[in-house]
Amino acid sequence: MEDLVLYAVDYARSIGATYAEARYHRNSSRSIVSNNGLILGVGSGAVEGIGIRVVAGGALGFSATNRLERSSIKNAVDKAIAQARNTSRLMKYPIELAESKLGRAKYFVLEAKRFDSLSFEEKAGFHSDLWKAISRSICEAKANTLFIEYTESFEEKVVANSDGAFIESRVPRISLFYNLVITHPQKGSIQRWEMLGASGGLEWLDKWGLINKLEEDAKTYEKILLTAIEPPKNAVDLVIGSEIVGLMVHESCGHPSEADRILGREAAQAGKSFIKKGMVGERIGNENATVIDDPSIPGSYGFYLYDDEGVPAKPRYLYKEGVISEHLHNRWTARIYGVESNAAARSMDYKSEPIVRMANTYLKSGNYRFEELIEDIELGIYMKSYMEWNIDDERWSQRYVGLEAYLIERGEIKGFVRNPALEITTGGFYNNIDAVGREVKFYAGTCGKGEPPQGVPVWFGGPDVRLRNVRLGVSIT
């Protein structure tokens, strides 16, 4: 594919593009889908083609084709340049890119345990084993549904641009999504979704230990369904589990720190940001609020070493000890800000333009053991996991509804509370982190942004944290 990619760049430059970039991008996958241990079907596919981006007449054009011969590539380049030129008369500010140190490199992530080291029968049997584990763990209620989608995939890219970048990469990924519904004739139902994902191979199945995990989880959900009480109405101390903390920093630090969002480029879709241009250096939280986004974490679901503009990846300190420190940039936003790109340009597949994205976002760890977080709490809640969540389009007002959530009394974990709702502003969260746990855990997700929508793999994570004196929101119990 190298020759087609380089041809696209050279041809675009030869007919007047001031910048040209071509990306061969192949996403191939195989999945096994089951319901209650029975295999519904097997999925297999490959999305493969070349995406071309040009600047012409000061406007940005993108075209994509999966007809991989020179004539189709030429047509795609012609189209991107012609349509960019046609829109240039409506441009107020021409598109320009920041100077960047661009890579010329190849990197390949290896599966420590190859996908083909387990037979297909063993993988199908794993679905059945998970269902059996859940079924045997529940006594009084009934495991109604366990839907599982297990996927092995490879993402392969060749990226080149007219400023000299040339990056070839290959990343394998593994993911498992499940939906569990447990019902009881009098108590109703409880539902848990979870997604697990990482870059690498089958070694992650060993690390996740899903059979034991789901067996224990199902017991817990049954207890919640049967015994959970309404959460307290008065203000309580709140311990937020790492799963929710991870989501909170993704939603209320990562997204609002995307410089294209701040500049209004996604205003009609994913929205704007409470962070405005010029707010770097302003305080958003207390000294416990340090949030990092790092694409280079080995094994992470959002792993990459160079972004889709060829810029080398590095950790980005978005909030540092409570201060807005750095945004996520591609080369276009970096130019407007007068900074260097920090390699946040990602695209989902060949059909997608590279836009500013997170990779692996997490809250920095502190010094507390879990026991220390709860030991002096007189009355509190520990929210360990969630189902419902959302945040407004400027990333300020957010809500998380606990699924596995416990009452804390006099420093001890007691019984379960049902659907406690944390409804809080971004400032309210980062200014009130009172204590931070010492262990960072990561969780997988598919982050959505762009038009057409692009879902890209990310991790989000953090330690458990404590907030004091929080009045919970209205629960629908």
Partner: protein
């Protein structure tokens, strides 16, 4: 392209038979699409796609395999087929399996292709100009949005004998306007046929709401009567209609798990339809992915649940009949419509003593699909209604409630209906403003 696309599908079905599969279907889709995105009242990017995708259904001794490719060439698909035949031998029979249906005569739909859309694929910038100009007739600061045009061909071949082709065009436009301090409005439109007037009206509505929602004030949490715009109810209704997919019922992702046709699920004022043969709406089609002729149908009629959406597999599993909504695995709605009511928006507002008008929302998520427990966040203009009149623009709110309650508490429907399609309403929908009694409204406590 007609014959070439059909040949691709037919060749794949023949090849599947040669490889040893008992049944197969191939759906080839050729797409030309242009999308012009606008931000800060200028183009941010123009995107163009020219792609061929192929989706293949394979069955071997009641084992099911789905392949999806944007193929470099057919040889890769053939190689995968051979590999997957070996896989099929290793898995158990699918509990979803049912034979592909025998072909039934499909009555084609006329009027699905608009030549003007095909022409505008090459040069859509004038449409963006219309949108930008119209929005700025109001006193706004900036606007953003998307003009999206496509020409799509699909060719279906099945081993049971279906051989079908259809082409269609479509467009969607959604626009958002901003007016300081803190005002914003958003609106959308869609159709199979290009309509400059509808783009202009979309821009004007977004701009009007932006200007009217400036100077937002705080509002107390609690229970309100809420008027949902077609953008908002369209979002909740799309979720509801996905829950009406029989597959989602089987997979535990539906509040209709414990419902059956004839059960009351909504206010008797509500009628909701799946309308694949409504040629105004962009997902109109004469046949589904199994080659079954589509037909328009009520899903909720007078508040009564009429039917789940089925393909032949879910129908077989649930002792029902296919509704022409395949999806080989999961049935899905084609186009969603809601009946008209008797009220103008002003008349509806005049009925409300203490309420809220929500013009747009996003990020709807559920705590529990089976029970329909959800919340969603407003964006853009939100207005407080007191004693039958809009009293002020208010800050963003969150609706946290149960979908069954929302559907049952519908009090009035507007007499004007709007074509809606955007980021948060991906199935084309035609529906009015809707008044819902006693809705739980929340906001942050810290």
């Amino acid at each position: 392209m007609n014959e070439e696309l059909l040949r691709i599908s037919e060749d794949l079905v023949k090849r599947a038979s040669v490889e040893g599969f008992n049944e197969s279907a191939a759906l080839s889709i050729s797409t030309r699409r242009t999308m012009l995105k606008v931000a800060n009242s200028e183009p941010s990017v123009i995107q163009h796609w020219n792609s061929l995708s192929v989706i293949i259904y394979l069955a071997k001794d009641k084992r099911i395999i789905i392949m999806e490719f944007y193929p470099r060439d057919e040889s890769e698909i053939y190689k995968s087929m051979a590999d997957l035949l070996k896989v099929a031998a290793k898995i158990m029979e699918s509990p979803l399996y049912a034979p592909l249906p025998e072909p039934i005569e499909v009555k084609p739909l006329d009027g699905l292709v608009d030549k003007e859309i095909v022409e505008r694929l090459e040069e859509p910038s004038a449409l963006a100009e219309v949108a930008i100009e119209a929005a700025h007739r109001e006193n706004i600061d900036s606007m953003a949005g998307t003009i999206d045009l496509w020409y799509r061909e699909k060719a279906l071949s099945t081993s049971s004998g279906a051989s079908l082709y259809e082409d269609s065009t479509g467009f969607q436009t959604y626009l958002r306007a901003f007016a300081e301090p803190s005002g914003s409005g958003q609106w959308s439109t869609c159709s199979t046929r290009l309509d400059l007037r509808s783009i202009e009206e979309t821009a004007l509505t977004a701009a009007k709401y932006a200007v009217e929602s400036r100077y937002r004030e705080k509002v107390e949490v609690g229970r309100y009567d809420v008027i949902m715009s077609p953008m908002v109810f369209g979002n909740l209704l799309e979720l509801t209609m996905h829950m009406a997919s029989a597959f989602n019922v089987l997979m535990g992702l539906s509040m209709f798990m414990n419902k059956k046709p004839g059960d009351k699920v909504a206010s008797d004022k509500l009628r909701v339809f799946d309308e694949p043969r409504n040629t105004e709406l962009p997902r109109a089609t004469s046949f589904d992915d199994e080659g079954v002729p589509t037909y328009n149908k009520a899903v909720i009629d007078g508040g009564i649940f009429k039917t789940l959406l089925h393909n032949s597999k879910t129908a077989s599993k649930m002792s029902a009949t296919t509704t022409g909504n395949a999806g080989w695995i999961s049935p899905a709605p084609w186009n969603i419509t809601v009946n008209r009511g008797d009220y103008s928006l002003d008349e509806m507002i005049s009925e409300v003593k203490r309420g809220i008008l929500v013009t747009n929302n996003w990020y709807t998520r559920l705590q529990n699909y089976v029970e329909g427990v959800f919340s969603t966040v407003s964006r853009d203009a939100v207005f407080l209604i007191e004693n039958g009149k809009i009293s002020k623009s208010i800050e963003k709110i969150r609706i946290a409630d149960r979908l069954p309650s929302i559907l049952n508490n519908i009090e009035a429907l507007g007499k004007n209906v709007y074509n809606i399609m955007w980021w948060e309403v991906t199935i084309p929908s035609k529906l009015p403003y809707i008044l819902i009694k006693d809705v739980n409204v929340t906001k942050p406590t810290l």
